[in-house]
């Protein structure tokens, strides 16, 4: 398989086969590697914009009393921080990884629909410019939480709602196009012999994620449209006075929202399942059960949405149904964690930065899973709901889960992308600073929540003061630690020790058979898979 590298002379006569020069290369590109890079850089930018908003939130919460921002602006910060991080940082980062890696992993020359690929990226900057610009409107941007519950987002919101709805529509279109591209690519462009059950788990998890996206992004589009028509066109979907029901909003939103949670974690499972075997020098334990576990998590994700709304007043039977279904998710998720641990068992491990982030992922994501299980227990949820315990829970699964997996992936594949090894010492500094600060940031939130501090408040009772100061210190430290990552990436792009094609001793998969850096066009002739 190592003979399938592209011969630089073979395409010399076709001038359009190399990248174009300057800005046009990025604007017009249909190359999966270029588009992958664009997605990843965009997501990094959004990570810092969303992060800056988190810093505003933590600065205000450093001490009791109102110091820095007004409550109305505080609410805009929590809202836009959530939207940016979910739709601007985590999702595009995974799409970027999919673009870079899926064709290389299945032996395809590119994504199946390259021109649509260009579109699905280039509409994103418009979506987020609209969203961010709305912050400068009279009265400010959206301030109803990233969950935009009606009627707070309809009757009681200002006109930035229209911009919010429009930008979410664009984000949704982008996601759907990206998902279609992933599915079509995987179904049609696998190299001969690459059967479904031979695909790397990253490809499998993205395949399932893409179906989730196609299933639920239209639901999101529907619900934002209903918000728009309720606010501007006199409909009453969510207004009891016109025969509607505000709780209907939450049912529709969370029917999108819960699968969305898995959209942000399933690709992470794929990444960890690639990295752990490499640095354990041992094949992944239970490949088939990993595929089945991912599929069952995806299916179950459609049956648990109302666990976000236990306090809205549901019939007991519905509460029991959603409690049981939610608890069931622990089973396939447990299988995954057990499989990773079994992969490490009796391996020969080394601890480069990608492995460190993966190990941290396994421990900290599992802690987020435990708090998720606690939240599933309806009677206890009545106490946890809408407190900092929930904030701690979803930041453990999204920051130390999704974001840590993205960091791990970046370190793991950077040598393949740039052709240079990253600076290992700097990477270890980044890892340890992030690990310590992220736990100072989010772990105390569990206690603050259990002690009764509601989420989304700009000011709090005095008993919460010490812990909030500590949390804020952790927040600032975590934010600053990420600058190390930027420095490292820039350094790695500019130069560094030359990476081999194999890069990692124990790595398996087609992407390690091609040159480092990966040539602009790879697998123009499909490799044969035994």
């Amino acid at each position: 398989m190592s003979t399938v590298t592209t011969d630089p002379h073979a395409h010399a006569e076709h001038e359009h086969h190399g990248p174009a020069k300057g800005l046009k290369r990025w604007l017009y590109t249909t190359n999966h590697k270029d588009i992958g890079t664009l997605y990843l850089l965009f997501s990094l930018l959004m990570f810092f914009i969303g992060g800056a908003m988190a810093m505003v939130i933590r600065a205000e919460l450093f001490q009791p009393g109102l110091q820095i921002v007004e409550p109305n602006f505080f609410n805009q910060m929590t809202t836009v921080h959530g939207l940016i991080m979910v739709f601007g940082a985590v999702m595009p980062a995974f799409t970027g990884l999919a673009n870079w890696l899926i064709p290389m992993m299945i032996g395809a020359p590119d994504m199946a629909l390259p021109r649509m690929n260009n579109w699905s990226f280039w509409i994103l900057p418009f979506a987020f410019s609209i969203l961010l610009a709305s912050l400068f409107m009279e009265g400010g941007g959206p301030s109803f939480g990233w969950t935009f519950y009606a009627p707070l987002s309809t009757t009681y919101s200002n006109d930035s709602t229209a911009l919010f709805v429009f930008s979410v529509h664009i984000m949704g279109i982008s996601s759907i196009m990206g998902a279609i591209n992933v599915i079509v690519t995987i179904m049609n462009l696998r190299a001969p012999g690459m059967t479904y059950m031979k695909m790397p788990l990253f490809v499998w998890t993205w395949f399932i994620t893409a179906y989730l996206l196609i299933a639920v992004m239209p639901v999101l589009a529907g619900v934002v449209t209903m918000v728009l028509t309720d606010k501007y066109f006199g409909t009453s979907f969510f207004d009891a006075a016109g025969g509607g029901d505000p709780v209907l909003f939450q049912h529709i939103f969370w029917f999108f929202g819960h699968p969305e949670v898995y959209i942000m974690i399933l690709p992470a499972f794929g990444i960890i399942s690639s990295i752990v075997p490499t640095f354990s020098r041992k094949p992944l334990f239970g490949y088939a059960s990993m595929v089945y576990a991912t599929s069952s998590i995806a299916l179950l994700s459609f049956l648990v949405w109302a666990h976000h709304m236990f306090t809205t007043g549901m019939p007991v039977a519905a509460e029991l149904f959603f409690m049981y279904c939610t608890m069931l998710i622990a089973v396939p998720t447990g299988v995954k964690v057990f499989n990773w641990v079994a992969t490490m068992w009796r391996g020969a491990m080394t601890f480069e930065v990608p492995m460190m982030f993966s190990l941290a992922f396994i421990v900290l994501f599992t802690i987020g899973g435990f708090s998720g299980l606690m939240l599933a227990i309806t009677p206890a949820d009545f106490q946890y709901h809408d407190t900092y315990f929930v904030v701690a829970h979803f930041h453990y699964v999204l920051v130390t889960g999704a974001i840590f997996s993205i960091m791990a992936a970046a370190y793991y594949w950077l040598p393949k992308w740039t052709g240079h090894m990253y600076d290992e010492t700097l990477g270890q500094w980044h890892f340890w600073c992030s690990l310590i600060s992220v736990n100072v940031l989010f772990f105390p939130m569990h206690f603050v929540g259990l002690a009764g501090m509601p989420r989304r408040i700009p000011d709090y009772a005095l008993q919460f003061a010490d812990f909030n100061a500590l949390i804020s210190i952790g927040g600032f430290a975590f934010g600053l630690s990420q600058l190390l990552f930027v420095w490292l990436v820039v350094k790695c792009i500019k130069g560094g020790e030359k990476a081999t094609d194999q890069v990692w001793e124990g790595a398996e998969g087609l992407e390690w058979t091609i040159a480092s850096p990966a040539p602009y066009h790879s697998f123009t002739t499909p490799p044969e898979i035994k």
Partner: protein
């Protein structure tokens, strides 16, 4: 040791920094050991000071809240046990199965037996968790045969309580002074958790709460009762509690409800049944008397000073959250009253919007929230404060006339 003792009385970060700067002048070794000490005391400072903040869920004061706490602890311990087992195996691997120890990696990659086992075992654990959870949930949702029923209505940003079996109803507003929030006064013990008129309930009786909202979704939460119920506009939710011990119990709104979501606490006072009966009888009498006095007021005229004084008090309590104390509003969100056409010219429309609100906006109807004289006073205030200077005086009788239209 000296540092440890200081911690006991509550050392602050600034003390530590100060001590640190002083100590920096000493030898290098002493500095390193001091660094370790200061880190330790820093952590200790948090654990000792937070004696005020419980680190765990409250056990509460009801049978249900105790059950919820037990359930929470049971699941927590199960999670801890699983965590210790899984992470134990993982860290054993990390320590022993590393390349630097010269181990050769094994090559096994599946075992149907083991995989079936670790699929089935969690199911059994989940069933063990689900049984008590189901029992508690069914008990929590049984709102039948209540002794007392109270209608709780949330609105931006206050609670309204109405006793269904008595002619008693009132609003409950945040009592923390604005200056404390703006850091101009030192904060009181119950900062942000205090109200002007708490809800009063009898002990030992099953109290049913009917929860609804006038505008957006709120959520009525008292941790000590393990009651958190969303207040949905247009719908009524039910919850109940039976409190065994008299006392004051504090909570907050738990659902984001707009700008002042963080400023609408819940305070409940539980009284012995006899004390409760006495309180409610007195309260009914007071409210009935107030209504009569209100009717008498119709025949009387208040002076401008009286109107402005009452108007300012009412405005600050009910209007200033949106329209701001200086009448400037928040552009694009809440309109300004200073210099507005309505406040300067159109008096009937002004009275109408205060009485009936404006549908499709955040402007509430204050007809039932305020007395006739308060409405008269607040309209007068809005027409004469902040250089509006219309000179208009509005009396309770004018409001009554507008009401009957």
């Amino acid at each position: 040791m000296a540092i440890a003792e200081k911690t006991a009385v509550g050392v602050t970060v600034f003390d530590l920094q100060f001590a640190f700067v002083q100590r920096q002048r000493r030898s290098h070794v002493a500095r390193t050991s001091y660094l370790c000490w200061s880190l330790l005391t820093f952590l200790l400072a948090f654990s000792t000071q937070s004696a005020e903040m419980p680190l765990n869920m409250t056990q509460g004061v009801t049978e249900i809240s105790q059950q919820v706490y037990d359930l929470h602890m049971k699941i927590f311990y199960i999670c801890c046990a699983i965590g210790i087992a899984v992470f134990g195996v993982m860290f054993w691997s990390i320590i022993h199965h590393r390349k630097s120890k010269g181990v050769e990696p094994a090559q096994f990659h599946e075992s149907t037996k083991v995989e079936l086992l670790w699929t089935a075992f969690p199911v059994v654990i989940l069933i063990i968790m689900a049984i008590p959870a189901t029992q508690t949930l069914i008990a929590m949702e049984d709102t039948s045969e209540a002794d007392v029923s109270i209608l709780i209505t949330g609105s931006q940003w206050k609670w309204h309580y109405k006793y269904m079996d008595h002619k008693v109803e009132y609003f409950s507003l945040l009592a923390t002074p604005r200056q404390q929030i703006d850091n101009k006064l030192s904060k009181g013990e119950n900062y942000l958790l205090e109200v002007d008129r708490p809800l009063v309930i009898p002990t030992g009786k099953k109290v049913r709460f009917l929860v609804t909202s006038d505008d957006v979704i709120h959520s009525w939460w008292v941790p000590a009762f393990a009651v958190k119920k969303d207040a949905n506009p247009g719908f009524i939710n039910e919850a109940w509690t039976r409190v065994d011990h008299p006392g004051i119990y504090r909570g907050q709104c738990a659902e984001l409800c707009g700008k002042d979501h963080g400023f609408m606490p819940v305070v409940v006072v539980a009284k012995e049944p006899a004390d409760f009966e006495q309180w409610i009888a007195q309260e009914s009498a007071t409210q009935a008397a107030a209504k009569e006095a209100e009717l008498k007021l119709l025949a009387m005229n208040m002076s401008k000073d009286e109107l402005m004084a009452l108007g300012e008090k009412t405005y600050m309590g009910y209007c200033a959250a949106c329209h701001q104390p200086n009448g400037m509003g928040i552009p694009g969100v809440f309109p300004a009253l200073k210099g507005s056409k309505m406040a300067l010219e159109d008096l009937p429309a002004h009275i109408d919007i205060v009485l009936n609100g404006k549908t499709g906006t955040s402007m509430q109807a204050f007809d039932k929230q305020l007395t006739l004289s308060e409405i008269a006073a607040v309209v007068t205030y809005e027409r004469n404060a902040w250089d509006n200077n219309t000179g208009d005086l509005v009396q309770a009788a004018d409001i009554a006339k507008a009401q009957s239209k």
